[in-house]
């Protein structure tokens, strides 16, 4: 098409301005798409913190609270789940597996999780990934501990290090379990989830450090039971904090949830992690919206740069317009020429922007995952992106009408007179 070819050659003739304009649009488009990818990745990272678990069961209370202390290691439980209740559900015929969590202690600000072998075997995050060891193995004896990767990195602990745990979530030194030190036997591989920020011991270990404790208070001096004297009976846990549950068949999930909620022996509640996660995520909707709005304005600024770039050429191009008029180009085609230039700039800007964003994501992926635990993933060019790009080009078309209209006015008033 002649108009497109003229527009293209006219733009090519003004290489520097054109290049800078395309660059500014490309940067703004890359930023818009990058923000979008970041938003989706953050959401995906967040919602894939836990996978493969159908229900989270804990003492009756707030569902969000249950999610926070089991999955995100935030907040505390107000009540426990009796060991007998846990066993009853673990052995339930419709249940495939369970992972018990016993919480409440900490080490230098990091939470301690008492659990058993099924955590290392069954727990899934980011759909199919399992908990793995960067070094060592899972704790088996009651005085063994495995560290999440952040814990190991921040505290500089290695294997065989002896540590003591702190009762509750407070600072170390107030109520330490220093009568029963733990030995580091494993360091977990990095997961970029809250798993990295915890220490893992056995359920027996959790019971052992609380032997002789009553009502959350340590035993009187002289009444502590030395680790060596603990018997198997002493180590039998009486309660856990919560457990994760996987049904044999997904269809049973809702029925099990209802049955847990109606459990007669003690007040329990079961939540579906996906539902609860969505609820939690919706509280940060405003942040998402803010990101989108900022992205939109960035693109607007890029397009205004284009407007300025085209507009400033109008005066020097009046001669060109007079020539085109003399050659029988009507005002409509002159408008089309200018709009076409805007559209070409926007389309090149969009293409370059998509490329730039790809490069940016590849460059930043490692850094973001390492430093922020955010797995930045480009979801491929999707409908939403196509719509964004179409909006950018459409906006360019509208903005392009401004200089085009001015050029149209010029050609009508100038006619065939050459303004030099």
């Amino acid at each position: 098409m002649l108009i497109a070819s003229l527009a293209w050659r006219s733009l090519r003739n003004r290489r520097v301005t054109t290049g800078l304009t395309v660059l500014s649009i490309a940067l703004s488009v890359a930023l818009l798409l990058g923000v979008e990818a970041l938003r989706l990745s953050a959401r995906e990272s967040f919602s894939s913190t836990i996978s493969g678990t159908d229900l989270i069961v804990g003492a009756r209370g707030g569902g969000l609270q249950l999610l926070l202390y089991t999955v995100f290691r935030m907040g505390t439980a107000t009540n426990n789940v009796k060991w007998s209740s846990y066993e009853a559900w673990a052995k339930h015929p419709a249940v495939a597996w369970t992972i018990p969590y016993s919480l409440g202690d900490s080490h230098r600000g990091f939470r301690v999780v008492g659990t058993n072998g099924s955590f290392y075997e069954r727990y899934r995050y980011r759909r199919t990934r399992t908990v793995e060891f960067a070094a060592g193995r899972a704790p088996r004896a009651f005085d063994e501990v495995a560290l999440g990767s952040d814990v190991a990195a921040k505290l500089g602990y290695g294997l065989e290090r002896k540590i003591s745990l702190t009762h509750g979530i407070g600072a170390a030194g107030i109520m330490d379990h220093d009568d029963k030190p733990f030995r580091v036997v494993g360091v977990l591989a990095r997961t970029a989830t809250p798993i990295d920020r915890s220490l893992y011991i056995t359920l027996e270990g959790m019971t052992a450090i609380h032997v002789g404790w009553q009502q959350g208070a340590p035993p009187e001096p002289g009444e502590e039971l030395p680790a060596a004297k603990l018997t198997q009976k002493d180590l039998q846990p009486e309660a856990i904090t919560a457990f994760l549950l996987r049904a044999k068949s997904r269809i049973d999930t809702l029925r099990i949830q209802r049955d847990v909620n109606n459990y007669l022996d003690e007040p329990l509640m079961a939540i579906i992690p996906g539902v609860a996660m969505n609820e939690l995520w919706s509280t940060v909707k405003y942040a998402e919206l803010a990101l989108e709005i900022v992205g939109g304005f960035v693109v607007l600024v890029g397009l205004l740069g284009m407007l300025v770039a085209i507009y400033t050429t109008l005066n020097e191009r009046r001669r060109e317009m007079a020539i085109l008029r003399a050659l029988g180009m009507g005002p409509a085609r002159i408008v089309a020429l200018f709009v076409m230039e805007s559209v070409l700039l926007a389309v090149s800007g969009c293409l370059a922007g998509v490329g730039l964003m790809y490069v940016g994501i590849i460059a930043l992926q490692g850094l973001l995952e390492r430093e922020f635990g955010l797995y930045l993933r480009w979801q491929g060019l999707q409908w939403e992106h196509a719509i964004y790009l179409a909006i950018v080009v459409g906006a360019a078309l509208l903005i392009g009408l401004v200089p085009a209209w001015r050029a149209y006015r010029n050609t009508l008033s100038d006619g065939l007179s050459l303004r030099v």
Binding site: L2, L6, R9, S10, R12, N13, R319, E320, A322, I323, L324, R325, A326, L327, G328, M329, G330, P331, A332, G415, L416, S417, L418, V420
Partner: protein, 229 residues
């Protein structure tokens, strides 16, 4: 009204033009006729409505009164869009200077009228370029050309596709005396060969001897006479 016996490329009768309704007349021409294939030197100092007259003849400006007949078309009866197309297909136009689109090559500049309008043919480019002495410049960028070369390219573009009327608005004023005459000879020769009428406007009276008809715009245009009085 018009005399059908005498075919003309331009026939103006009682033409009046003002830029806005109520503003003073810029053109008031009783009669002006340019015969088919005829060349006319129209003398006009600046400010006598020269560019306005050319705009009316080329169909860019619309006269408020009278009859504007160019190449057999009654321009006042054509819509603006039709006039644009008509101009592109049937006319050649040469400006004083800066005739060329800076981002197109010499060849593309010359062929542009043919590309813009299906009714205009782009054949005979090589021969015309050879006759005008620009054959070896065809693939150059226009910014590399001297002013004289640029004007010859402009002439080639005006003449491409065999228009029956070429309008030249002071095309020689940017050239020095030696090039001026040479350019004019080439232009007249090519126009004659193509059978095109040539309306040549200039304030430089020294050139008028080369034309078949010589007119003075201030005499033709009653609007300037009134203003002068």
């Amino acid at each position: 009204m018009s005399s059908p016996t005498n075919p003309a490329s331009i026939r103006l009768e009682q033409v009046r033009f003002a830029y806005r309704a109520g503003s003073p007349l810029v053109l008031d021409i009783e009669e002006f006729v340019l015969g088919e294939g005829e060349s006319c030197f129209l003398h006009g100092p600046s400010g006598c409505g020269k560019t306005t007259l050319l705009g009316v003849i080329a169909g860019v400006l619309e006269a408020q009164q009278g009859r504007v007949e160019v190449l057999g078309e009654d321009l006042r009866r054509l819509s603006r869009g039709r006039r644009d197309r008509w101009r592109g297909e049937k006319l050649g136009y040469i400006f004083q200077m800066f005739n060329l689109i800076p981002y197109l090559s010499v060849r593309d500049n010359i062929l542009l009228p043919a590309q813009l309008h299906r009714g205009r043919r782009g054949e005979g480019l090589e021969e015309m370029a050879a006759a005008l002495g620009i054959a070896d410049l065809l693939d150059r960028g226009v910014l590399e050309l001297s002013v004289g070369q640029q004007q010859r390219v402009a002439a080639a573009r005006a003449l491409i596709g065999g228009p029956k009327l070429v309008i030249a608005d002071e095309p020689t004023s940017a050239l020095d005396a030696a090039h001026r005459e040479r350019f004019l000879e080439l232009l007249l020769g090519q126009a004659r060969q193509a059978g095109a009428a040539l309306l040549f406007v200039s304030h430089d009276q020294s050139l008028k001897g080369l034309f078949e008809q010589q007119r003075s715009l201030p005499e033709l245009n009653r609007a300037t006479r009134l203003e002068g009085a």
